[in-house]
């Protein structure tokens, strides 16, 4: 059981280590406790680096239960977060310290599908 699990996970690790990284990070700003842009589009099947830049004097927490992401963005600070590779769909994120602020990661289906 344990051996089979190890084999399967090794195979999976090998496969996904090849996951392509999208060109360049995507930036999301937090301004006056709102995400701008509030909707970002990323391609399906690639790993994407997000840069969350907090322009406010208040700390924020970029959180997404859809993506299982959680990171404090200090006041006037910035953080990076990797997401994906994701299937096509909509994934919500929000500011855990100011829950009315939300945004969406929209994953468009790969071209030709």
């Amino acid at each position: 059981m344990a051996r089979r699990l190890a084999l399967v996970s090794a195979a999976l690790l090998g496969l996904t280590a090849l996951a392509a990284l999208a060109d360049g990070p995507v930036q999301i700003d937090i301004k006056a406790q709102a995400f701008t842009p509030a909707e970002i589009h990323v391609p399906a099947g690639v790993k994407v680096e997000l840069h969350i830049v907090n322009d406010d004097a208040l700390p924020a927490e970029f959180e997404s239960t859809d993506l299982s992401r959680e990171i404090v963005v200090p006041a006037h600070g910035q953080v990076k977060v990797f997401i994906g590779p994701l299937d096509a769909g909509r994934y919500r994120f929000f500011n855990d310290f100011h829950q009315e602020s939300e945004g969406w990661v929209v994953v468009d289906a790969a071209a030709g599908k």
Partner: protein
């Protein structure tokens, strides 16, 4: 003020549930109150330090400091929960027998008291640092009244739910008590391991191994209060990735196997 109270409540409840279950699972172990209290105290101090140095931590390890810190303390908690359960698999029976005479120590084995402290410390530090940052943000934006009142109200409500949970646990018949708390500890451990996996994936260190293995967000929203509580208790994730599931299942399997193995060895040793 109510909004503040609710946010604080939702953070505090996560730590309170874990502490309640740890207190339940360690019932009858002499000195547990002192160690768990030490864990809470250290956790609060740790929360203040983490909040105060949020900038420094964020910038560490090429911007992956927070993710590594979270994954590290979560995995430490998983090991401690595993240790507790494995220890209980050989001492649970004696403990249940002695539990009526409160304060009686269990004679053999090294008691996992450090484990109780570390688990409590991690739970309080993680949720506490978020509460501190959130309240500090509120306070500096000119709503100091809302900060103090909402914070106190939310914290009190969270602790109240933890106390209810503990009381509820104590009403379980002693015969089943430690097997129930054992399963709860096991599921918490698996859930925390899955959380650690997503932090390592967030930092780009581990692959996702597939997204959205299933989607139950329309059935139970993970960001709602019930979803959040289940997330803490059993690791409920509405849209899990492959690496989360892998860590969850592996943690369950490894701890269960070790519990069975140690339990059997102990039984064999007693029989001879």
């Amino acid at each position: 003020m109510l909004a503040t109270a609710i946010i604080v409540f939702r953070e505090v409840i996560e730590a309170a549930l874990i502490v309640a279950i740890v207190l339940g699972a360690s019932r009858g172990i002499a000195g547990r109150g002192r160690w768990v209290s030490a864990g809470i105290g250290l956790g609060l101090a740790g929360a203040a330090v983490v909040a105060a140095f949020a900038d420094v931590i964020t910038g560490a390890f090429q911007g992956n400091g927070q993710a590594y810190l979270n994954a590290g303390v979560l995995l430490a908690a998983v090991c401690m929960l595993a240790w507790h359960n494995i220890w209980m698999s050989s001492h649970g029976r004696e403990l249940a027998a002695e539990v009526k005479s409160v304060g009686h120590d269990v004679k053999s084995g090294s008691k996992p008291l450090t484990a109780l402290m570390v688990i409590t410390f991690v739970a309080v530090m993680r949720e506490g640092s978020e509460v501190v940052l959130f309240l500090w943000a509120l306070g500096t934006s000119g709503s100091a009244g809302s900060m103090v009142l909402g914070g106190l109200l939310g914290a009190a409500a969270g602790v109240a739910v933890g106390t209810l949970m503990y009381r509820g646990l104590l009403s379980i018949p002693l015969r089943h008590f430690f097997s129930v708390t054992g399963w709860m500890v096991l599921l918490i451990a698996a859930g925390l391991a899955a959380q650690a996996a997503s932090f390592l994936n967030q930092a780009g260190l581990l692959p996702a191994l597939g997204s959205n293995l299933w989607d139950t967000s329309h059935l139970l929203d993970q960001s709602g209060t019930a979803g959040k509580m289940l997330h803490t208790l059993i690791g409920y994730t509405a849209r899990p990735s492959g690496i989360q599931l892998l860590f969850y299942v592996t943690t369950l399997a490894v701890i269960l196997t070790l519990m069975r193995w140690v339990g059997k060895r102990h039984a064999a040793a007693r029989a001879t």
